[in-house]
Amino acid sequence: MRVLMLGWEFPPHISGGLGTACYGITQGLMERGVDIAFILPSMRAEKSASGTFLRSASGVPISRALKKAVEKVRRQQASDEFSHLFMRPVRANLNPYGGTNFGELGIDPDVFNENDQYVDEISHFRGGYHNDLMDEVYRFTTAASAVVLEEHMKKPADVIHAHDWMTYPAAMTASRLSGLPFVAHLHATEFDRCGDHGYDKIYNIERDGLQAADHVIAVSERTKQVAVERYGVPPEKVSVVYNGAFLHDKVPTFEIPELVRNEKRVLFMGRVTFQKGPEYFVEAARLVLNEMPEARFIMAGNGDLLPRMIRRVAELRMGSRFHFPGFMRGKDVQHMYSMASLYVMPSVSEPFGIAPLEALQCGAPILLSKQSGCAEVLPGALTVDYWDVRQMADRILDVLNHPEMAAESLRLCQQSLQSLTWERAADGILDAYAHVCPNARS
């Protein structure tokens, strides 16, 4: 089985939660013997050592024929004339890529129009997220298609698997041009990121992608629900595959200074943005501090809401009990988790959420919003509606006042954690592939 994956993040080349998930998925699939080429907009040269299966779409020559073919696909997408594309006669003698018979592979012959093979441009991408993101998403369509076709001809592939909206347009086009089935992986939707105030343009891309996909993988039941209800995807076209946890053999231990060893610390860690619900954490902290003035709160991370959170903490006069250590990386993350008496993820909408899995491994009990996908696989976790600040405060106080209760919840969650492997996730993904390609399990 050979999979051509399209992604926007991959560690160490730009990695947020999405990159981490992509890493886990590829590792799990490769463990199962799947051959993968993972195509990214760009890779940083100095860090290209991590796995030879990574392909950068930067620096790929794009022929005029390919460009025309992509434009044609776009036009066809616009006018909904899908059916005629794959029924064209094949001109097998026009193959600039060597011996492969692209006709047998189902590739659109227009791509190889002999008269148009000179290089029109060399693709180049910054990668990551910036003001030109939308432009890069569209240009990635052509460049990624070129890489997909090249990879497909190097060694025939079975499926195109695309992670989140940035790569959906590329996957749709590459799928048309190559004849390969397209599986869309839904890690997060615009509703998760922005509530009901997202960008229509992104929503439209997501909807078109999910509609056009031959199959959809959602990271939780909650996300599947969104795909069905808000993007109109037929439920039978969606498989739920939970993310895995990177289980550490051994979590390093951190010495806690004696002066603060018995302090009760409540941690928020993540992007300080609308989606993560930081303001509910701040308001709950005020209620907790009214009851338990010796508690300590930490909001680790950075984001557009951070200044507002700092001002609000000042306004509530709790700055000496509420700390903002900023963005954490590496060992500091585990250090922070292992110091926490409780990790709170009050996300307004969290498709899955990998952070709590890391917190659990570092021995921090977790309190999740009911709007978090990972709560589905951690039945022992404490949960609360993100908006119910009073109950959130009560739950926090429960944990701080009753360590034995917190320990039990932690034990149950850590138990569930053991079965949350990326190999299990890979099996789910292979089952999903089986819906669109018959030899997925061979």
Binding site: I256, P257, E258, L259, V260, R261, E263, R296, I298, A300, L306, P307, I310, R311, V313, A314, E315, R317, M318, G319, S320, R321, H323, F324, P325, D332, H335, M336
Partner: protein, 397 residues
């Protein structure tokens, strides 16, 4: 016979290092010692040493007719001792001329007057002690942190035996009156109030090198003419400013040293004019009226009130969290904690958190070692949290 009264404020805070959450309970070295040393040595070289040398030369050349006053915070004196002892020597040399008066102020450059009379008095007494030790003078003049002033501050200073107190000559408070006379603080009979002539002071301190200013470039004879123009309409021109104006805020290449070198001659060219220290001027001129100032004024920002330090919630939170420790600090009375507490009180920490609406934001930014007021707040609160952890631990022992 009007007098020109220079009074220079000398201060450098102990800036805090980036203090991480993980340091809390583990490390109690709060200061960025290297940075403080660098700043002190840079400013000593650019400002304190050359300007002290220049003043000494001017005093000698004019044989007692050029006189100035200084106010040094205890915090800057500590840093002189630690990082630039030669600066302190040069101040001693100035003191020995007999033409230089040293004023008292809050030792920590703090806002103690706002929350505890005891703490305030303790700080001022400590400063008085230092002036006696260092310069052999017992100050008669009190100048509060950043010219923070109200009837209440005057009352406390009067009570402590000071004859003269300084304040900002704000328009709001003066109305039709002129800052160029000596006043009496309300309900402090016998005490004298000297007001900063902010416009003439800021011509030197802020506008001197501003190329957009119509009077640029300002020459000493022009400025002397402006001073002379108060003749018949004033007794004294009080020019109070940061000492760092000379060589640090205004670099040497702006010509600020040449300006000061030439100024005494230009001023004294009118025989009716002379220079005086603050208490000399106060002694010489009669009180022309009393001023009732119930609300706090200061020399900071356009508002000229407390908003530079207590203008937003971050500042108010930090201020409250700091000063609610007072009782326990006294109770525990641990030398190490006392010393840390002393330095945390320095008003600059609150000033860095300021978010003024007007262009004063740039002034805050110029002085701040932080990227933003938010950083200043979160870092200070981390340090303060550690201080409080140690304080509570000691108190509970």
């Amino acid at each position: 016979m009007p007098s020109v009264c220079f009074c220079f404020e000398v201060h450098q805070p102990y800036r805090l290092r980036p203090y991480s959450f993980f340091d809390m309970g583990a490390k109690n070295d709060y200061e960025d010692a290297q940075h403080n040393r660098d700043v002190m040595q840079k400013v000593a070289e650019k400002c304190y040493l050359p300007m002290n040398a220049l003043l000494l030369k001017l005093i000698k050349r004019h044989q007692g007719r050029f006189r100035v006053s200084f106010s040094l915070t205890g915090i800057v004196i500590d840093q002189f001792m630690e990082y630039a002892p030669e600066v302190l020597d040069s101040f001693r040399a100035l003191a020995r001329t007999g033409c230089v008066e040293f004023l008292d102020e809050t030792d920590n450059h703090s806002l103690a007057c706002l929350f505890s009379e005891d703490e305030f008095r303790g700080e001022v007494m400590r400063h008085r002690e230092r002036m006696r030790e260092l310069f052999g003078q017992t100050p008669r003049v009190f100048r509060n942190t950043e010219l923070i002033y109200s009837n209440d501050v005057a009352r406390m200073a009067c009570d402590m035996g000071y004859d003269v107190i300084l304040a900002e000559g704000t328009d709001n408070m003066l109305g039709w009156r002129s800052p160029h006379f000596v006043y009496e603080p309300a309900r402090c009979p016998g005490m004298k109030l000297m007001l900063r002539s902010y416009s003439l002071s800021d011509d030197i301190a802020f506008r001197f090198s501003n190329r957009d200013w119509p009077a640029y470039p300002l020459m000493a004879d022009t400025f002397a003419d402006w001073l002379h123009s108060i003749k018949g309409n004033g007794d004294v021109v009080n020019l109070f400013m940061d000492y760092e104006t000379f060589g640090e805020h205004q670099w040497a290449d702006t010509g600020i040293f040449d300006f000061m070198r030439a100024l005494p001659d230009c001023v004294l060219s009118d025989p009716e004019f002379d220079f005086a220290t603050v208490s000399e001027a106060a002694d010489r001129y009669p009180v022309r009226g009393d001023l009732d100032i119930p609300n706090y004024i200061s020399w900071a920002d356009a508002e000229r009130d407390l908003s530079a330090w207590l203008g937003n919630d971050m500042q108010k939170d930090a201020f409250r969290a700091l000063y609610e420790c007072l009782g326990l600090v006294k109770y525990v009375n641990d030398p190490e904690l006392n010393e840390a507490w002393r330095k945390l009180q320095t008003s600059d920490h609150l000033y860095y958190m300021g978010t003024p609406q007007s262009s004063d934001g740039n002034v805050h930014k110029y002085f701040s070692p932080y990227r933003s007021p938010l950083d200043a707040y979160t870092n200070f609160m981390n340090v303060l949290a550690d201080f409080r952890i140690r304080l509570f631990a000691k108190a509970n022992q």
